[in-house]
């Protein structure tokens, strides 16, 4: 096989993946502008803007996203730090825990949660209840983002350097670790937003009216409005992802050079 052929094949693979994302987007876009027959216009968008439920669901999703980010970081930053510093041998365990959310089918988790929710009465259910599964859902990305960031830092050497200079743990974390992890932290936060904004299974089954649930609800009544919402949802999450991409790029350069051995 020549070199050129070799380069074509994965390129083709990427192209196919790309098309899979682009075709539905374009089709959705076109469809959202359709007003029946030969007419195209912004009617679907106009109709949506005046629905208070849209803004309520969007607000709920944003609030949940922020709560999820905070809880996730407070739990994971020390855990991943500790992993990289002292218990490298536990990495397989961490890797295992971090993929559990994909492993335990969400539907099974929901069934478990529903059981608890409808069975014994003592487990109260508010929308905040969703933060727990969302932290779990965001776990793999938050974990990965933090782990990649910390690994690139040569954390062990930096920690020892900082200790030999007399710094305590607080100085170490807030003056050395966190400032060099801003990229990773922002990336984790943006990913969490994307996930929470898009999560449907839990919210739907547990009967909370989040943004994703609202899209589905609209879809049942107006196909063109659903298409318009879908585009909006794409927009929000893609913006979040572009954020990840660009912070990731800047940070990559910084980390790569600074942490080089």
């Amino acid at each position: 096989m020549s070199r050129r052929t070799h380069n074509l094949i994965p390129g083709l693979g990427l192209g196919v993946i790309g098309l899979y994302f682009v075709i539905p987007l374009v089709a959705t876009g076109a469809f959202s502008l359709w007003e029946g027959g030969d007419k195209y216009g912004l009617a679907a968008y106009a109709a949506l803007i005046h629905q208070p439920k849209l803004w309520q669901s969007l607000g709920l999703s944003v609030r949940l996203a922020i709560q999820t980010i905070l809880v996730g970081l407070v739990v994971l930053v020390p855990a991943v730090f500790w992993l990289n510093l002292r218990v490298q041998r536990l990495r397989p365990l961490f890797d295992f825990l971090s993929v559990l959310p994909f492993v335990v089918p969400p539907i099974a988790l929901v069934a478990g949660m529903t059981t608890l929710y409808t069975g014994p009465d003592w487990f109260v259910g508010t929308a905040n209840y969703l933060v727990v599964p969302y932290v779990i859902l965001a776990l793999p990305y938050t974990y990965r983002a933090l782990d990649v960031g910390m690994r690139a830092l040569d954390l062990k050497t930096l920690t020892e350097a900082s200790q030999s200079l007399g710094a305590g743990w607080m100085t170490l974390i807030f003056r050395v670790v966190v400032p060099n992890l801003t990229t990773a932290l922002i990336g984790a936060a943006l990913l969490t937003i994307a996930i929470v904004m898009g999560e449907f299974t839990f919210a739907n089954i547990l009967l909370f009216n989040t943004f994703a649930v609202y899209i589905d609800y609209v879809g049942q009544t107006s196909a063109t409005q659903a298409a318009a919402l879908t585009l909006l949802s794409f927009l929000i999450t893609w913006l979040a992802m572009l954020g990840v991409l660009f912070t990731g790029r800047g940070g990559r350069g910084q980390v790569q050079i600074g942490g080089a051995r």
């Binding site: 200790q163 200079l165 080089a260």
Partner: protein, 352 residues
């Protein structure tokens, strides 16, 4: 009284013994190298002094105070690491100031001291640069300045040169020695490179499999190796099998010939010895001269000032290497027969 005292320090990882009852004393202001091959325990020993590893038994005593239980942050030791260890988010100056900032010194003092130290390591003009804007050698200089900024009780250097290019390595080595002598800070330096250890140290500690093979001044380590491991590890040496022939006359039988070696005096005839010749003590002459041994030149290696000739000794497959000024070596062709001589004081004998 000794400044730093390592007292019967032992360390195991599971069933593997890394250090067996190692005891070393350092005088104040001394520059001591820990020299040995990979896995000899030298880095573990340094990390125990720094407090990053805990010994299984034994004590680390600094100025009479047992610091074995002290956290690394409380030990006041400046350390330079093998990996580049500067904080990537801080400039060179901020890195150097870090230890002072932790000690809550006032900003002016911090800046003044950081400036001084960056000047000392020759980087006064790079104070505002970030680590990724500095070369490897410059980063290690900043790391040195940072370690010195806290006026450490002890300076610990963990192979700080091994990631650098050969030329930079030699420059920084000389610089480290100069700075250490200027500041007078007691220093412990870990290296696997014998030339590095010999050239930079007041004393060298040669380690092997977790024990001390020899402790002494560079000239003593090189000139009077205490055992065959040290002889082989430090410097080049030709190693022949010998038997003491005459202990009163100082004669040893090597490859069937009696040769002179004053150090055989007093040894019992019949003692098996390693007969060791450093290349620079071997003199080659024309084949007709009355040589102690004869041989054939089989290889020539040019090192710049010196050239070494490898000579296969007649009557065996053993070789000796002779080092001489490159100008003199030009006249000896590969394949030519030569006589091999040495001053009877030169050979070192180690009982086999």
């Amino acid at each position: 009284m000794s400044y730093l005292q390592l007292d019967a320090v032992a360390k195991h990882y599971g069933s593997r013994t890394v250090l067996r009852d190692v005891s070393i004393d350092l005088k104040a202001g001394e520059f001591v190298s820990l020299l040995g091959p990979s896995g000899c325990g030298k880095t573990t020993l340094l990390r125990i002094v720094a407090g990053f590893d805990q010994p299984d038994s034994g004590r680390v005593v600094l100025e009479g105070r047992d610091i074995s239980g002290l956290a690394p942050a409380k030990r006041q030791m400046g350390m330079v690491f093998q990996a580049y260890s500067l904080f990537p988010n801080m400039t060179a100056q901020e890195n150097v100031q870090f230890g002072l900032r932790v000690r809550r010194q006032d900003a002016t003092t911090q800046q003044k001291r950081a400036r001084e130290l960056l000047e000392l390591v020759g980087l006064g003009e790079h104070a505002q640069k970030y680590p990724h804007q500095l070369s490897g050698g410059q980063q290690q200089r900043v790391a040195l300045a940072r370690a010195l900024a806290i006026s450490p009780a002890l300076l610990l250097l963990d192979e700080p040169l091994s990631a650098l290019d050969a030329k930079v390595r030699v420059q920084l080595r000389d610089e480290i020695r100069r700075i250490q002598q200027e500041t007078g800070v007691t220093t412990l330096f870990v290296t696997h490179d014998q030339e590095e250890a010999l050239s930079i140290s007041d004393r060298v500690v040669v380690m092997h499999d977790g024990v001390l093979a020899q402790v002494g001044e560079p000239a003593a380590i090189y000139g009077e190796p205490a055992n065959i491991f040290v002889a082989r590890f430090v410097g080049a040496v030709a190693e022949l099998q010998g038997v003491v022939a005459d202990g009163s006359a100082g004669m040893v039988t090597v490859l069937g010939r009696q040769v002179a070696a004053n150090r055989a005096r007093g040894m019992a005839a019949g003692t098996r010895v390693y007969f060791l010749l450093r290349p620079e003590t071997v003199r080659l002459g024309p084949p007709d001269a009355a040589g102690m041994l004869h041989g054939t030149v089989i290889a020539r290696t040019f090192y710049g000032a010196l050239t070494s000739l490898k000579v296969e000794i007649v009557g065996g497959s053993d070789c000796v290497t002779a080092a001489m000024a490159s100008g003199d070596a030009v006249n000896i062709a590969i394949g030519s027969t030569v006589s091999i001589n040495w001053d009877p004081d030169s050979p070192r004998l180690l009982v086999a």
